[in-house]
């Protein structure tokens, strides 16, 4: 189990705010930190990895203290057994796919490289350089490199945000598969709700450095006023006025639907389309 309880003064686009989070991650759990950009979610990951120091706090991995401001304990990143996948992948341009992954290991464990490359379906590209790979392939190399040495926690910093929709879906499946296969403890940072829903066991909703909500994706995102039997997340693409009604076109994971409503929406709103007593209703997600 991983215990995180940290505070740090941050400067965001709205000015200063305090990051103040406290949570636990169970072994094998897939936890997501969800929040808008500038909410401090990436900083949390960087603090866990030891790439940034909190002003005060405590971090513990399976009983081993990584950081304790009271006792002056602060392990450098090298001594923390974490796998970090960066938003820009951070693959070493001077190394081949194989060398990138092998870099994570000591010489005597190098035979694990082929194995992991086969799992992420990159074995036949192992002698290529990162610059000749597609975004999705680069992402898989980064993932393989991060998990090959069996980290205590896999930290993913918006790993799929730069990819096309279809590739993103495929990689989400792969991520889920890897998570199960290696029984990884995973902490994902994301601002993509469908992604969070699909992958996470539990979500922490971070806003301005504070935890606003915490629970399963369903508890965090779906409001109690709607029974979750028939409801889908989407984005408003278009609004047409028709007499007293608004006809709203919503993109639900690539499916376009039209819903009539009396409420007002703006284009780009994130909405929940659901049915209540057989009539579909549509609500803005706060």
């Amino acid at each position: 189990m991983i215990v995180v309880d940290v505070k740090k003064e941050l400067i965001g686009y709205k000015g200063k705010f305090t990051l103040d989070v406290s949570f636990k991650v169970e072994k094998g759990e897939f936890l997501t930190i969800f929040g808008k950009s500038g909410s401090g979610k990436t900083t949390v990951l960087r603090i866990i990895a030891g790439l940034e120091n909190p002003d005060e706090g405590y971090i513990e991995f399976d009983g081993k203290v990584y950081f304790d401001s009271k006792k002056g304990v602060n392990l450098p990143p090298q001594k923390r057994n974490v796998g970090f996948v960066f938003q820009n992948y951070a693959l070493f341009p001077n190394m081949t796919v194989y060398e990138n992954v092998a870099f994570a290991l000591d010489k005597e464990e190098r035979d694990k490289v082929d194995e992991i490359l086969k799992v992420v379906e990159l074995y036949n590209l192992k002698d290529r350089y990162p610059s000749s790979l597609s975004g999705g392939q680069q992402q898989r190399v980064a993932l393989a490199r991060a998990i090959v040495k069996n980290p205590d926690i896999l930290l993913l910093d918006e790993p799929l945000s730069a990819l096309d929709y279809s590739i993103r879906l495929k990689l989400q499946d792969q991520l889920k598969k890897l998570h199960k296969m290696f029984n990884l403890t995973t902490l994902l940072v994301s601002h993509d709700k469908p992604e969070v829903f699909k992958l996470s066991d539990r979500v922490i909703y971070l806003e301005d450095g504070k935890i606003k909500k915490e629970g399963t994706p369903r508890e965090v995102f779906i409001e109690k006023s709607i029974s979750g039997k028939f409801s889908f997340y989407g984005t408003v693409l278009d609004i047409r006025k028709s007499d007293i009604l608004n006809i709203v076109t919503v993109d639900i994971n690539g499916n376009l639907v039209e819903v009539a409503t009396t409420e007002d929406f703006n284009i780009g709103d994130e909405v929940l389309v659901g049915a209540k007593a057989f009539n579909p209703i549509i609500k803005k997600i706060s």
């Binding site: 030891g50 450098p76 090298q78 960066f86 820009n88 951070a90 341009p93």
Partner: protein, 227 residues
Amino acid sequence: MLEILKQIDYSPFFLTFKLAFITTLILFVVGIPVSYFLAYSKFRFKSAFEAVVALPLVLPPSVLGFYLLLILSKNGFLGKFWEENFGHQLAFHFEGIVIASVIFSFPFMVHPLTSGFKSVNKSLIEAAYTLGKSKLETLFKVILPNMKPAIITGITLSFAHTIGEFGVVLMVGGSIEGETKVVSIAIYDAVERLDYTTAHVYAAILFGLSFFVLLVVYMLNKRFEIK
């Protein structure tokens, strides 16, 4: 024509390249830690340090040469130390002009290396750290291989600048045959003696070499850019 070329003494070239090679080697070894510090450290008085490193760019060679002469002669602390341990002072000796060249060409190595260090994406370094690699291993396996253009620029500029320096070497080394008389000084000497033929040959060779060195750098850098 060939007769004339055969009569000319080419030993100043040998000396010049020996000087440039040794200077560049020392600068590379010293330049890497200094540039690493300048690029990544948040040390409070870094600006002062940066200013000192850049000083040789703006100081007249005669000023630098004068101070170096004081330090390197048998009354200066370095010259004295050398005389006690190696039997001769540093001024007017090859070792003396090596030290002078290293100081004079310092910014030509440190500046390209510093911007090279800064150009390496920070997340590459952080990735190496999270993969358990020490700072030293990260430096040699990740940072340096990914700043090759900066390294090539630093090495060539230092080398070329050392070949071309005149004032400092003249002040510190004088013009001693086979010891401190490098090509640039030999040209000056030849002109003073009104030996224009020798001056012509030396100057033309230096001209061609300098162009060739720079051409190679730009060609190499272009290759790295495409990759």
